[in-house]
């Protein structure tokens, strides 16, 4: 690869259930925040990529209205209707073409404005699953969780333990939506049962929030930061649309995305070569399946890996020191926040949730669709070379 690209600046909002704000203000807050960190203005940005959802924004081609707030007026701008990490990938490849040097990537959504789980029902096939309406993101996740737990003997308390870990981490993250004092297994296990085995605190919270990154090409990087975070590897993969046609016991598309990203970044053993993992787990069981898919443990050993405490904040393989998507999930921004959080860890700017160990290489994951149908994995690395 002749050109190299780095994350040079970032910003995220405080994630909240009902922000006293608008989409435009949220976008402007993170866009200007990221540009300010890079010490540049709108004029220095070559391309803008937004990530948002028409069904979540309630408008078709919703980025038409957010041109002003994302600093894209009379600029090269386009949108990804997927997780924001895909928007980062798109911006990355635009820079690799050689036609652009600096890109601004923004992801946002406002759950306080959209009708809860209805957009996920509207994503279903219109001739059978949608009219039947048994399926949506939580019932789908519950079907997969039951299958996975049955196949590998994963327990409900292991699902709860993921939530305890992530929500404890979230207490140290000032941007997190969920901040629950004295969180314990009983807090999780007493939370409302939604679709068995998924309880309210084992599912993501509806979130208002946004995130922005500035990406730059190598020759520009040093003018914008002395702490670049290089994109060293990336891969993504799509699983089947239909749940009944998927291999439900594993996240094959995460594994394939990771394989591509590892190969590109020269990661031979993720357990040895990666210092921090920020995963987009909409539901606690998914984090265990992702351990397996990312090669942190063999198939079916996600629960044991959790029990061994290696994925805790001071463990050997820290997963979601930010609290992950269980702490805040502004859809279309969540994967971008994972990239932002890894960049913060590598730059030593995570504040109270900064890992004690030296972080040089990190993995950021984004997903979209029922039961993580679509997945993207990035490998980021700090350092001057």
């Amino acid at each position: 690869m002749s050109r190299r690209v780095a994350i040079v600046a970032y910003a995220q909002t405080k994630h909240e259930p009902d922000k006293d704000s608008t989409r435009e203000f949220m976008i402007q807050e993170v866009a200007t925040g990221a540009l300010r960190m890079a010490g540049i203005s709108k004029a220095d940005v070559d391309t803008v990529v937004n990530a948002s959802g028409d069904f979540l924004d309630g408008r078709t081609i919703s980025n038409m209205k957010t041109v002003a707030s994302s600093g894209a007026y009379l600029k090269d701008e386009s949108k990804v209707e997927m997780d924001g990490a895909f928007a980062a990938f798109y911006a990355y490849t635009r820079i690799l073409t050689g036609n652009h040097s600096v890109a601004l990537v923004v992801g946002e959504s406002m759950a306080s404005c959209y009708p809860g789980y209805i957009p996920s029902i509207l994503s279903l096939d219109t001739s059978f699953d949608r009219p039947n309406s048994f399926l949506h993101e939580i019932s789908a996740a519950a079907l997969q969780a039951t299958y996975y737990m049955h196949k590998y003997g994963i327990t409900e308390s292991q699902l709860a333990k993921v939530a305890v870990k992530n929500l404890r981490n979230a207490r140290m993250n000032p941007f997190a939506l969920r901040s629950i004092q004295g969180i314990s297994m009983s807090t999780i296990l007493k939370s409302r049962m939604l679709y068995s085995p998924i309880r309210e605190l084992c599912a993501y919270p509806f979130t208002d929030g946004a995130c922005a990154l500035v990406l730059a090409e190598e020759s520009k990087v040093w003018q914008l930061t002395d702490k670049p975070v290089w994109i060293e590897g990336v891969g993504f993969c799509h699983d089947s649309y239909y749940l009944g046609e998927r291999k439900l016991s594993e996240c094959e598309s995460v594994a394939l995305a990771a394989k591509t990203a590892y190969k590109m970044a020269g990661v031979k053993d993720p357990k040895r070569d990666i210092d921090v993992f920020e995963l987009h787990e909409n539901f606690s069981y998914q984090e265990l399946m992702f351990y397996e898919a990312l090669g942190l443990c063999p198939k079916g050993k996600g629960g044991e890996t959790l029990d061994a405490r290696v994925t805790e904040v001071n463990g050997q393989l820290p997963v979601n020191p930010s609290g992950g998507a269980l702490a805040a999930n502004p859809v279309h921004a969540t994967g971008l926040i994972r990239l932002c959080e890894v960049a913060m860890q590598i730059r030593g700017e995570s504040g109270k949730h900064q890992l004690k160990k030296k972080v040089r290489t990190g993995l950021a994951h984004g997903q979209h669709g029922l039961c993580a149908q679509d997945n993207i994995v990035f490998i980021l690395r700090g350092g001057a070379e």
Partner: protein, 156 residues
């Protein structure tokens, strides 16, 4: 940033009722014509011989057009399930508590390689198990649509 509370301004409604006329497509048309006659149709991939129900036009692993229609028995086994304690409110998308929990399942149809998402009735939620045999209960009056399969129940 404004600190207006919601009560300070009138309600502004910008909603439009919009009807979309989706075609069910040639394959689902055939499936629904059969379900009207209380028959379950699947379709087989000519390459890998996987049978899909509901029928898919393309076998995605082979990237081949499916062609061979096959009538399936209206029964199968529970691949996985969830007990729903809530459902999604059709108006605002929030979760409302159900008076009685319901069973939602992925049901692997006998002789097929895919599974149907449906509900299981005539069963207590704590009695349902993975691999349990279940059968289709057809609607009293079938109309050639998704409601023809009323629900599944444990095989008697």
């Amino acid at each position: 940033m404004s600190s207006l509370s919601k009560a300070d301004v009138g309600e502004v409604r910008g909603n439009r009722d919009a009807e979309y006329n989706y075609s069910v497509g040639m394959y689902m048309e055939k499936f629904f014509k059969a379900s009207k006659e209380r028959k379950l149709l699947g379709i087989r991939c000519p390459v890998c011989k996987k049978t899909y129900v509901p029928p898919r036009m393309i076998c995605e692993s082979c990237f081949a057009e499916t062609k061979e229609w096959t009538e399936l028995q209206p029964k199968g086994t529970v691949l996985t399930y969830t007990v729903a304690h809530v459902n999604v409110d059709g108006a605002n998308g929030v979760l409302n508590d159900l008076a009685k929990p319901e069973i939602i399942a992925l049901i692997k149809i006998a002789g097929a390689d895919s599974a149907i998402v449906h509900r299981i009735c005539e069963a207590k939620p704590d009695s349902i198990k993975i691999s349990a045999p279940v059968e289709i209960v057809w609607a009293e009056e079938t109309c050639g649509g998704p409601s023809d399969i009323k629900y599944f129940r444990p095989t008697k």
